[in-house]
Structures are given as C-alpha cells and as structure tokens.
C-alpha cells in the first residue's frame, strides 16, 4: 500500500474528490478548519475560482482515476462572487446528474451543495454525509472496471475489453 491510499481499518474507505469554488465553499472549508470542526478525512479538495469553472469532465475524469464519490460545491444562489457562475453550473449539473443517472451511475456518489464562506458547519455535514453515503455504496468498481489493468494481459490473458469482438479462450 502506498501512502496515497487511505488507511483501510476494518472496511472500505471511499475516496472523494471535491471541486469547490474559491470564494464560498473553499473559504467555508477554511472556516471549518479554523473552527476545528472534526470531519471524515476522505475528501480531497480541488480549488477552482467558481462553480461555473467546473466542467462535467472533471467528474468523469475523477471517476476514471478511481474516485468513489464526488462533491461539487459553491456559493448559494445570488451569492456568486462572479454574479452568475453558480447559476450556469446549476443548469449544467442538473443535466449532468440526470445523464449519469440514465447511464446507470448511482447519483448518491455525486453530491452537489451550496456552502457559503460562513458555513463551516455545513461543510462538515456535507463531507460527513457524502462519506457515509458513498461508504455504504461501496467502491466504485464499476467505473474502474471500464478498462483492465494491462499488466494482467502480460500473463497471457486476453484483454476482456475485446469480449464480443475477440473469442475468449
């Protein structure tokens, strides 16, 4: 186990990537810190200027890279530092969420929230809730299975991505 894997002590610990805006949620998370609010350690934050900057591809890429859950969080409506970035994000992610659901991704893995700079407590709740929820859903192996570890093929096993195309032995 390398140092990047969360300690597995008696069970599955989900990896959650959070995409947050700089002005509200990131600052709210700072406030949670200065308030010493204890929370689950499974979330890794990626800071962006605004939820409007968050592209749905960030989420698919994070899933590809093994995230079990995602948090997207920014300023409450009407509070956006950039006036309307969160409104644009809201439409974008409303659609994205339905798309993921339609493709069979459990939407419990993706948490959207508005957390203001003053809501350190809310950020803690969002984090803890997301961790609890994703822990119950288990590792997102479905997504990771989308491509096999090619090392396996070194043993002579036919790459399973060719199922249906190539005759399995």
């Amino acid at each position: 186990m390398d140092a990047t894997t969360p300690a597995v002590a008696g069970g599955f610990e989900p990896r959650i990537t959070a995409f947050v805006c700089n002005w509200c949620t990131y600052t709210g998370a700072d406030l949670a810190g200065t308030s010493r609010l204890q929370m689950a350690s499974n979330v890794r934050i990626i800071r962006l200027p605004c939820t409007g900057r968050i592209d749905p591809m960030f989420i698919t890429k994070a899933f590809e890279r093994g995230a079990d859950g995602i948090i997207v969080s920014g300023c409450h409506p009407a509070d956006c530092h950039y006036n309307a970035g969160n409104y644009h994000a809201r439409r974008r992610f409303a659609i994205f969420r339905e798309l993921m659901d339609f493709l069979g991704v459990d939407t419990g893995r993706i948490t959207f929230s508005w957390v203001s700079a003053s809501e350190g407590g809310k950020w803690r709740d969002v984090v803890n809730d997301a961790v609890t929820r994703v822990r119950a859903l288990g590792p997102f192996t479905d997504y990771r299975k989308l491509v096999v570890d090619p090392v396996a093929t070194a043993t002579g096993v036919v790459p399973p991505e060719h199922v249906g195309k190539e005759v399995p032995a």
Partner: protein, 190 residues
C-alpha cells in the same frame, strides 16, 4: 444515514397553520395584519372574527378561538378580502379550509342555523343531483333552521312559478353519490 436526523416524533396535533397550508397550499404566515381585508369585508361590522383576525388566529394556532366564534360561518365568500390582499394571502380560501375542518366535526361545531342550511343544501344535491329548492326550505326547517321568516312569502314565490313542487333527479345520480362518497372517503384519510 445522514448525520442529522429528522423526526416528526414530537407528539401533539399538527399546528393549525401547517394544516391550513397543507390543505390550501397557502402560507398563513404571509399575513402581516394590515387589515385591508377586514376594511373591505361586508360582514366586518357583524362578526367578531374578521378576515385578518382569522389569519392571525391561524398563525397563532388558536383553534379554540376559531371554534368559539360564528365568524367563519358568516363569511359570504364574496372574495373581497382575497381580491384586495396586498400579500396574496387569500383569506377566503383559508376560511374555506377552516370551515372544512370544523364541518368534519372533530374540532368544534359550526353554528346550528348556518350548518343546518349547508347540510340541507348538500343533502338536496346528494339526493337529487340538483338543488330542489322547495325541498331545501322544508329540510332546512326540519334540520333545525330558525322558523323560516319567509314562510309567509312562499306562496307568493309559488304563485310566480318560481318554486317547483317536485324534485328533478339527474340521470347520473349514481355518479353524484359516488362523488360525495369518494370525497368523504378521501378527506377522511389522514
């Protein structure tokens, strides 16, 4: 699963405002007691329960005070209050809901005369599908309405061909009865 638990366990009846909101979709807290409704209410001079009083008592969960007064039953449903309310409160609809609550009989009783009238009226509709006015007058009296001050005028009404002597029954009586029954059943559900 979530960290905060939500429960409706704290016993006791649902607050009146919430109940009214559930029934009407209106938020009684919207009333800021400006009194414009009562200022235009045609019955304001006669009743102790003006529209803005009703709104206040709903917000304050005073089912007892509402049950005590006749005011709800004096409402003419003229909609003046609703039309003029600056904040979109719809006191008329709120009073409908309250009457409905009281008509169900669990939370207090409507005044005899007016209740008797509405009961008679609805019985007529239930039994015939339409209003049989002569029947209404008779049944209202028997049902406990005040001795009808207009009895003396009834012959003149008859003379003008205004009152039929036999009820007209609609063909779809079954349907009308079913509507009454289904509504009663639906409304009885919690």
């Amino acid at each position: 699963m979530g960290s905060h638990e939500h429960s409706h366990d704290h016993s006791g009846p649902e607050p009146l405002a919430a109940r009214v909101q559930r029934m009407t979709g209106l938020n009684p807290a919207c009333c800021y007691q400006c009194g414009k409704c009562s200022a235009g209410c045609p019955m304001a001079a006669e009743t102790t329960l003006r529209p803005h009083d009703v709104m206040r008592l709903v917000a304050r969960n005073r089912l007892d005070k509402l049950a005590d007064a006749d005011g709800l039953w004096l409402c003419l449903t003229c909609e003046t209050c609703t039309s003029r309310c600056p904040n979109g409160c719809d006191p008329a609809r709120t009073m409908d809901a309250l009457r409905e609550i009281f008509a169900a009989g669990k939370d207090g009783k409507p005044p005899k005369a007016i209740s008797a009238f509405h009961k008679s009226f609805l019985n007529q509709v239930r039994n015939h599908g339409r209003l049989f006015e002569m029947g209404l007058i008779m049944s209202y009296k028997l049902g406990g309405g005040p001795m009808f001050a207009d009895v003396t005028t009834t012959p003149s009404v008859l003379a003008r061909g205004k009152l039929g002597l036999a009820p007209h029954n609609v063909k779809g009586m079954d349907e009308v009865r079913r509507i009454f029954a289904a509504c009663a059943e639906e409304e009885a559900q919690p």
